[in-house]
């Protein structure tokens, strides 16, 4: 059973197909340069920003966060105008970049933005050899590293994002160390979802080993996160499933809406159709229905969401190739959180009503609750203490407060 939001709240906006890297395993479903389609025909020039304004006006009330990606988003000539307009609309955004911009003026634009959350910079290895084995551009490592340092020096939050390939799968600790040296906020490890390529695609065994190593880094308190999902039935790990088709979608440079950046399914076009109609189209529903039946019987379904549906659909197979057998039911318990009873929770989320309940939103976090939670949420105002909330609402309320705290949705003030 899925609780689908009435509109997406997280968007990946692929601003341009152009890219100055030549990644051998580029996962973009559209050609990166020359805008040449698979059938050899030239794709039309992406619409200019003026045509996007009305679309952004319509998205802004729903959009919790945009991820500006590509291609390389900063290569779009009107990139500064887009940043400026997102500031005007008050929509927060992240820029997913390869960090190979040449103009120092770009950092002025980004540093001046009030809604930029930070940069996700692709860095695929701790040394030039491993990074450039993926990017295909000699010198790209040095260029990206220097720009990370410049961005950090300007006070811009930078996270390093990489895909796990044969070239870096055994060097996760080195990458984290480099990230720390560069002053990056954290490292995001992503599973490689591009075409299967010898020497690039890690084996399931290699990936499982990397997941274990990354988990160990997490437990050491290192600034490490998983991006996309590694199925829990391959190996228990800290990754979580994607929200494509439930709370998240991708929009390509021509306005086509897809469930995610990895999916080639086109559900409609934002420049021509209302968002709601696209979101509840038969194509989007087909994507949601692609969850393998056995995953609905798995105790990890709530965490991994059925693995990568985009990959399975594009390969024409029933399930994520890494998925094995459903896990049996387990009694998951977490260690209790000990807190002083005089602490006062303060909400850090916005509440969005849905037909089936309420959704709490902050950044990338999408947290659904039952409608009965409403009076407890109102009490998270910095006035009521934990003890008072417990006395008034009982243990379920304190359990909810604990979950909100773990997800960064409240602060606890003394």
């Amino acid at each position: 059973m899925l609780h689908v939001l009435s509109t997406p709240v997280l968007y990946a906006w692929e601003l341009t197909p152009a890219c100055n890297n030549r990644c051998v395993g580029c996962p973009n479903v559209f050609p990166r340069d020359g805008r040449t389609q698979a059938d050899g025909e030239s794709a039309p020039e992406p619409p200019r920003f003026a045509e996007w304004r009305a679309v952004l006006d319509r998205l802004a009330p729903h959009a919790q966060r945009l991820k500006l990606t590509g291609g390389e988003p900063t290569l779009r000539p009107d990139f500064p105008a887009i940043v400026e307009y997102l500031d005007v609309l008050g929509v927060e955004f992240v820029v997913f970049t390869n960090g190979r911009w040449e103009s120092a003026a770009l950092l002025d634009v980004l540093a001046g933005s009030r809604r930029l959350v930070g940069l996700l910079v692709s860095l695929h290895g701790a040394q030039a050899q491993s990074h450039e084995a993926f990017t295909g551009v000699p010198g790209s490592f040095e260029e990206t590293v220097e720009n990370i340092q410049r961005a950090v020096a300007r006070g811009i939050t930078v996270a390093i994002s990489l895909v796990l390939t044969c070239h870096n799968v055994d060097n996760t600790a080195d990458i984290v160390e480099l990230s720390e040296q560069l002053g990056a906020h954290h490292v995001v490890f992503n599973r490689y979802l591009g075409p299967t390529i010898d020497g690039i695609t890690p084996s399931p065994t290699d990936l499982a080993r990397a997941a274990q190593n990354i988990g160990a880094l997490c437990r050491q308190g290192r600034a490490v996160k998983f991006g996309n999902c590694i199925p829990q039935c391959l190996i228990p790990n800290e990754s979580s499933g994607c929200l494509a088709g439930v709370a998240y979608c991708a929009v390509d440079p021509w306005g086509n809406v897809r469930p995610c950046t990895h999916s080639s399914l086109i559900a409609g076009n934002l420049l021509e159709q209302p968002l709601e109609g696209i979101w509840f189209s038969s194509t989007m529903q087909r994507f949601r229905d692609a969850i393998p039946p056995q995953c609905h019987q798995c105790s990890a379904f709530a965490v991994c969401h059925g693995g990568c549906k985009a990959l399975a659909m594009d390969l024409g197979v029933e399930k994520d190739p890494l998925a094995t057998d459903p896990l049996s039911a387990s009694d998951r318990t977490s260690s209790p959180i000990r807190l002083h009873p005089d602490m006062r929770p303060v909400s850090r989320f916005v509440v969005r009503p849905e037909e089936w309940g309420l959704v709490l939103l902050r950044g990338n976090t999408v947290f659904p609750v039952r409608p009965e939670a409403a009076p407890i949420l109102e009490a998270l105002d910095g006035q009521s203490t934990l003890e008072e909330i417990g006395q008034l609402f009982g243990p379920p309320a304190l359990s909810l407060v604990g979950s909100l705290y773990q997800r960064g949705l409240i602060t606890l003030v003394a």
Partner: protein, 60 residues
């Protein structure tokens, strides 16, 4: 705490689990978070930050 909230508490029959799941197998009970109130714990402000992550699946 306001009286209205207390009144709402009296009216509401709160379920044990107030959280929902976006992907619900109806098989796996939510991992409940338990809070133990303890006056021995230092009284200081706490914040968990989770801002610029990339957990909704995207890579380049």
């Amino acid at each position: 705490m306001s009286q209205s909230v207390a009144e709402q508490r009296q009216k509401a029959q709160l379920p044990e689990a107030l959280e929902l799941l976006l992907f619900d197998s109806q098989l796996h009970a939510l991992s409940r978070v338990m809070i133990l109130l303890d006056r021995q714990i230092p009284l200081r402000s706490l914040k968990v930050d989770s801002d610029i992550d990339d957990s909704n699946c995207a890579c380049e």
